[in-house]
Amino acid sequence: MSVSAHLPVAMVALPMLTAIVCLLLGAASRGKDEDVLQRQRQRQRQRWIGGLSLLLLVGLSAVLLQQTADGRVFVYRLANWPSPFAIALVVDRLSAIMVSLTATLCLFVHLAAARGKDARGRFFHPLLQLQVMGLCGAFMTGDLFNLFVFFEILLIASYALLVFGDGTHRTRASLHYVALNLVGSALFLIAIGTLYGMLGTLNMADLVARAAQVSPADAPVVRAAGGLLLVVFGLKAAIVPMGLWLPPTYHAATTPVSALFAIMTKVGVYAIIRIFIPMFGPQQGAVAGVADPWILGLGLATLALGTLGALSATEFKRMVTFLVVASVGTQLTSVGLFTEQGLAAATFYIVHSTFLTAALFLLAGAIIHQRGELGGRLSAGPVMYQGRLLGLLFLVAALSAAGLPPLSGFVSKALILAATPAAWKAVVWTVVLVTSFLLLIQLSRVGSVLFWNLAGDDPPKGPRPGPNDSLVPAVVLLSFSVVLAAAAGPLDDFTRATATQLYDRDAMIERVMTDAQPPPKTRRGDPPPTPHGFARRPGQEAP
């Protein structure tokens, strides 16, 4: 195997090792309170190691992106067991996009946190690295149970990151978030168990192949498992009616963590794409179309709810959290069209909205910091130190969020509208355009209040906050909005190729199931390497 064949596993191993190193450094800085200098030194080391590791990860993911661009699919079988017994990492174009997105976003989150927010506890950096590991794993795994495991890794890291920095409101929001996600995990396990019991495999490609051949008598159970999976992924993605946990949770988190959570809902959307397009697609015989009637409707409802929530918000950061809900709705609407163009547009939108949401959260943090005791409340406030700069950044973000030209929000929404088949045009166009218009109104209102509705020239009471010491991560993340719009042509070609690859179910099954090299000789006690020789209702095979 060439070195590049090991890339997928490196993307998981690198953040894991970094997390361990940072954890040890954090633990070593435990000491008496007078050891401030030593503690600072350890934190500085954590920052450097974490940052360099993330930089390396961005580089690796770029290589992955470049390698998969021509249609190559990495299938990394751990311990080189033959398929389908190997627990595989499968990296196609979509995985490569998501992994690059994760690495890039987390690098900027790291930079934003390293300006001082990470100093509220000793373990921010190990948690961030664990989160990256879980995200990368979830985006690359080709095994349904492994998807569960990586979900748990990224969730437990997110639980801890959510309460990071103390605060009573964080504790309560976290309690709800944890309880909901534990129930979600239980449902996920039940769905996995049901699928395994009916189909006898957990390898996703193998599941797709076997689900197509399921007998009509068994089909309802498999379809029920599919429905459960939709509930679980819907909970992670925060779609209606399971999405109401998101605004209080994201609102409670500290600024860099909120920005990091911009990618968390995308995990749910990604899992919906990964499971429902091949496994319950139109070619799947008796189990075809489990989610088809649901996804589009729920997407539109989520978009509407998110927009209404943003309209009713009286606090800046809370409005941004509702923008997250609305963006999930837009992605799901586009996925729910169940066409290649729709999926391509959804992929484009995912890239756009991840960067934009993170930038908005960082910007909200900077603005709230400037307003002192008033926080993000939408009422007349003091003159800000960097009013012009912040106002300009807010303008760019708002234009992109509302979908006005010339930024990436416009391009991605236009792609979604163009991808809508004639049958759905009336509904989808109406909802998407009306919600965009309402968001535009709300964003204009918020901008006017924050930057123009000033409470006289008198300095506000209480200690005046100093200028934000770094807006660089927010500026760079926002600039992606411009870059994505400028590079819309090539990116659109890439996302279209991604969608074609995802819809080509047979090619995917063949790639994952056939071994690149002849399997090693069967050792004694090994299961026979036939696809159906194992785990197939042992009780029934007995004489």
């Binding site: 748990e152 437990i156 239980a186 039940i190």
Partner: protein, 114 residues
């Protein structure tokens, strides 16, 4: 035996859901644990129930009964993850109780009351 297992899973899950919907964090934590136990039992059952069979498929011995080892491995993983999560949620509930001054799941924030 299938019926007993199925009923057991059902009863445990029902108790878990009931407790989960209660208003105090202690019951919620218990409910979450019960749900995860029910899930683990269910996972264990998906490999079909066999008695006295080895978890090894021996092709040379012909088609003999064997216990499916994969659900066992899955359950083991799920138990470990479940323990970690339960530990975390217990600590979180304790912290919430201390900070919020009450153990209701929707305990109002101290500053809200003030």
């Amino acid at each position: 035996m299938e019926l007993v297992l199925a009923l057991g899973v059902g009863v445990v899950a029902a108790c878990g859901v009931y407790l989960l919907l209660r208003a105090r964090t202690f019951s919620v934590v218990l409910g979450l644990s019960l749900i995860s136990y029910a899930t683990n039992l269910f996972l264990f059952g998906v490999g079909r129930i066999t008695v006295g069979a080895p978890p090894i498929y021996d092709a040379s011995a012909g088609a003999v009964a064997y216990a499916d080892p994969i659900p066992q491995a899955l359950v083991l993983t799920a138990i470990v993850i479940g323990f970690a999560m339960t530990a975390f949620v217990v600590v979180l509930a304790l912290v919430a109780h201390q900070r919020l001054g009450g153990d209701r799941v929707d305990q109002p924030l101290p500053e809200d009351e003030a």
